[in-house]
């Protein structure tokens, strides 16, 4: 799954050689996301969309469990000590994966990715502008509105085929 905006905020370190080395790796990781979506569509058509989704979450859980057990940090707060709302992310993930398996056979992978992206951008622009979900209300500058407008134009172009 992809997470583009929030949660990845960190100050860039100044180290140009490492940056140049890592950039192709990040692009490759992005390509992997499309491969994942490309695998999901045909799989969903064969075994059903929910089964295809289960394969993603089942295999993902298994790998992450092993990684955490053998290579993860031993210490850290228990999940049971955290506020419950922080634990609901898992309910939202399947919505995204099911929609991926439904959409890619009909509109293609590149276009599905553009539509997903426009949802992400639109959501963050609207949340900032109106201060939804307890976010501090801040003025969204013209450039971000323009970006959102261009993404909508891209969607219209796709819908026309």
């Amino acid at each position: 799954m992809q997470t583009l905006d929030e949660g990845l905020v960190a100050a860039p370190v100044k180290c140009s050689a490492l940056r140049l080395l890592l950039l192709p790796l990040v692009i490759l990781a992005g390509m992997g996301l499309s491969v994942e979506a490309g695998l999901l569509g045909p799989l969903g058509e064969q075994v059903g969309h929910l089964w295809a989704t289960l394969s993603i979450f089942g295999v993902g859980s298994a790998i992450l469990f092993l990684l955490l057990l053998f290579a993860g940090p031993r210490k850290g707060p228990a999940l049971t000590e955290l506020p419950r709302w922080q634990l609901i992310g898992g309910f939202l993930g399947p919505i995204y994966v099911v929609v991926l398996t439904l959409a890619t056979p009909h509109i293609g992978i590149a276009m599905t990715m553009i539509a997903i992206l426009s949802g992400q951008v639109g959501k963050s622009v609207l949340i900032d502008h109106f201060g939804w979900f307890g976010a501090t209300r801040k003025k969204v500058n013209g450039e971000r509105w323009l970006a959102l407008g261009l993404i909508v134009v891209a969607l219209v172009l796709i819908a026309r085929g």
């Binding site: 370190v13 491969v35 089964w51 790998i63 707060p77 995204y96 997903i116 959501k123 993404i151």
Partner: protein
């Protein structure tokens, strides 16, 4: 008309994903990326399992019968996560985001155009090309606005 509804659903899924990223970001800060991801995937698997038990119609083919390479999708997601955890502190969020999108769309267009991995081949039409250009310009604007606000 069906296509428009489908597009709207996908856009909404993007918004949902973004909310999930916000929630998981907060969780990851306190318990670490591995734990927050495992929780997301495990809860996702349980929810999907429940939905299958009660709502999924019987299918002619099961997951065990399809070629094994079709089941490798999750690996790409996990690798993506690890790469981002390592790379984002070095290259910065904005650059990493643009690099991911470039990779996603480039690979997406390749798979679409050639019909790789058993997908229907969708040729690169002029309106699809134009949509890509719009998106590229949109990314430039987003990048510039994020530079300005810090």
């Amino acid at each position: 008309m069906g296509l428009v509804i489908l597009l709207a659903v996908v856009v909404l899924a993007g918004a949902v994903l973004s909310v999930q990223a916000a929630i998981n970001g907060r969780l990851g800060e306190t318990v670490g990326v591995l734990r927050s991801s495992l929780l997301t995937f495990a809860v996702g698997a349980v929810v999907t399992g429940l939905l299958i038990l009660f709502f999924e119609p019987a299918q002619a083919v099961s997951l065990l019968e399809v070629p094994k390479w079709q089941l490798t999708g999750a690996l790409f997601g996990v690798v993506y996560m690890m790469v981002m955890v390592g790379a984002v502190p070095v290259v910065g969020t904005a650059v990493a985001t643009v690099a991911v999108i470039v990779g996603q769309l480039g690979m997406g267009m390749l798979i679409d155009n050639f019909g790789w991995l058993g997908n229907p081949a969708i040729g690169l039409s002029s309106s699809r090309m134009l949509a890509m250009v719009c998106l590229a310009v949109a990314l430039v604007f987003m990048y510039r606005s994020s530079q300005r606000t810090g």
